[in-house]
Symmetry: C2
Subunit: 342 residues, 2 copies
DNA sequence: TGGTAGCACTCATAAAGGGAGAGTGCTAAT
DNA sequence: ATTAGCACTCTCCCTTTATGAGTGCTACCA
């Protein structure tokens, strides 16, 4: 579709624009490209590339700037140019070589690293709860009618909830219910718990109110976590080199960032992807993201896909550097999680 | 020090400037003040107030703008003007009337409400861990040499940590250590735990490695939480109506906001206050806050001071509205926590 | 003596004009 | 097919000019 020369020119325009942020002119291209052709020839090619929708001119006497399509071409033809910097490699290995950490802490630090290395906003979606299996339940009385329920999963995730009861319950009953539930539920996948008939299960216990509240609580907890938790970092990076009007646009986006629910909604088109996804500009579903680029890739625990890590930055982003960085972080995280969760 | 007329004029200037954002001129003041004096007289007074350091002129032909000192005077003389709006009252009561919630969730929602109602950035410092007392410890094996430790406090706070052991440990030993620690530590204030001699305590157990790791873990956990957790919300509000240069200044501040440690450092001068504090402009210790106003007030659990809620906004802030809002939220939160933690 | 009218003065802001420079598209020549 | 040459367009930046807001000062008044 595009001949060799056009491809070279297009790639050069995008590359230069990413580096400088300035529209790229024919003269500068002739100098760097070394194709032995004059600016005039390049101008013809540029004009042609503009007709095809890969480039546009901000105004008539400016150089060319890539359209979303132009970036798309560039990203799809990155082979060779792409490489992980030594700096990045070192920082990533440093983070993941330190051991014995909390899942949450690890994800939090991953988010930080991601945003720092890519200079973009980073989002890490935590592993879904429903794939975990039930490990242990703990009932602790705060008051005789107020019980704190703590549920621990096999991946070391800890969720808690306060149960407020109508009537007081005795310590020995609490312990009994706890033991009973532990025995009955141990090892079950969390999403199987929804199908358990509570009445059936409750037959064996005396203190029905507490047991029922606990069961309902567990199901509610799953519901609460239906949209998974997201860690966000480096949202400030989106402000970098922004003009007045850009600022107003971004305000709405940052507002969405503060709410898990909205954030996940924006990300949902990439959440389920099982390989790296690069969405450029209007390729994004969420309107708030239309002027940004989103790079997302899944991470695993063992063989199972667990969650997604992603970065959000301007379409004018150094893809050749960011893509391998995101990729390597995802791999490193997967490896770390495997040893962390046993 | 200031006569009646000067006070009226100064208050009017600050009030008007807060409302409009425009420098206030003598003519406009003469119209609104109804003191029966002419603009010329007001000009004399303004000039005098400027000499005293309460006002300044952005440039010679502009009206007057309050200095930090001017805001300070205004805030110190708010009596009468101050009142809680019905809107705000309703929203606050609505949030705190719904019941049975997690401490963390409640604090998170409080942060949200605070930023929404004040249109400023909100920070809520969670109750310090060391005042809590030990309620229950839970050791769950993830693998035979990887133990998840969960510590529950009497206020329903749950902290966890993974313990990685040199040698595998048997399930019955885990249970034994867990029971032993529960018995020994139950009811102790967390800050007392630091003084316990581990060797003394360890005499009674066979599985010393696990027990020692657990003890060290608890102490480390306290250390980890020495600087308390902070919830942040509405940082975007700081971007409101910002010019290009203000944007660059604020970028550094927002970056600090992303790190608990730095954030708490900035807040530390107000953390220990036991009544409402209003810090205006350069009254702030942290240089990053020098061009903002910080309003902070403590909240309690029972009779004990538990944490601090605060908002950060431009010095040109509607103090008459924000101050009572922050105050009422703090009171409501205190009340809610009392019933939540029993 | 405190208040006021009048007036000259300053300065920000906006609109208008005018190079300079960058980069283009087009044309004609190779 | 490629290129040199050139006219053209438009942004950017600087200067100029007009406008208007608001002041400080001075002289006058009750």
């Amino acid at each position: 579709m595009l001949d060799e020369r056009k491809r070279k020119i297009l790639n050069a325009v995008v590359y230069r624009y990413i580096m400088t942020g300035q529209p790229v002119g024919s003269k500068a291209l002739a100098e760097t490209l070394n194709l032995g052709i004059s600016p005039a020839t390049i101008r013809n090619e540029l004009s042609s590339l503009e007709d095809m929708g890969y480039l546009y001119q901000p105004h008539v006497s400016a150089g060319r700037v890539p359209t979303y399509l132009g970036y798309r071409f560039y990203v799809d033809n990155l082979t060779g140019r792409i490489r992980l910097g030594v700096e990045e490699r070192r920082a990533i290995l440093a983070l993941f070589s330190s051991k014995t950490r909390e899942l949450e802490q690890l994800l939090q630090e991953t988010t930080h690293l991601l945003s720092r290395l890519t200079r973009a906003a980073a989002m890490v979606i935590a592993p879904r709860l429903d794939r975990n299996s039930f490990k242990h339940i703990d009932l602790v009385s705060l008051r005789d009618d107020l019980i704190l329920m703590v549920v621990i999963t096999d991946t070391g995730r800890v969720e808690k909830m306060t149960l407020s009861l109508e009537s007081p319950v005795k310590p020995e009953d609490i312990e009994m219910v706890q033991n009973y539930l532990n025995e009955k539920l141990s090892g079950k996948k969390l999403d199987q718990l929804e199908n358990i008939d509570p009445e059936e299960l409750l037959k064996g216990v005396r203190e029905k109110e507490l047991a029922r509240a606990a069961l309902e609580g567990i199901v509610e907890m799953m519901f609460r976590e239906e949209y998974e938790k997201v860690y966000v970092g480096g949202a400030v990076n989106l402000l970098r080199g922004l003009d007045q009007e850009g600022l107003e646009k971004i305000e709405g986006l940052l507002r969405k960032f503060e709410e898990q629910y909205h954030l996940l909604n924006m990300l949902k088109e990439v959440i389920r992807a099982n390989e790296m996804v690069v969405k450029i500009g209007d390729e994004n579903l969420a309107t708030e993201l239309r002027s940004f680029s989103l790079i997302a890739t899944p991470y695993n625990i063992g063989d199972e896909m667990a969650g997604t890590i992603s970065v959000l930055g301007p379409t004018r982003m150094d893809y050749a550097r960011v893509i391998p960085t995101v990729d390597f972080i995802a791999r490193s995280l997967s490896r770390a999680l495997e040893t962390l969760t046993g």
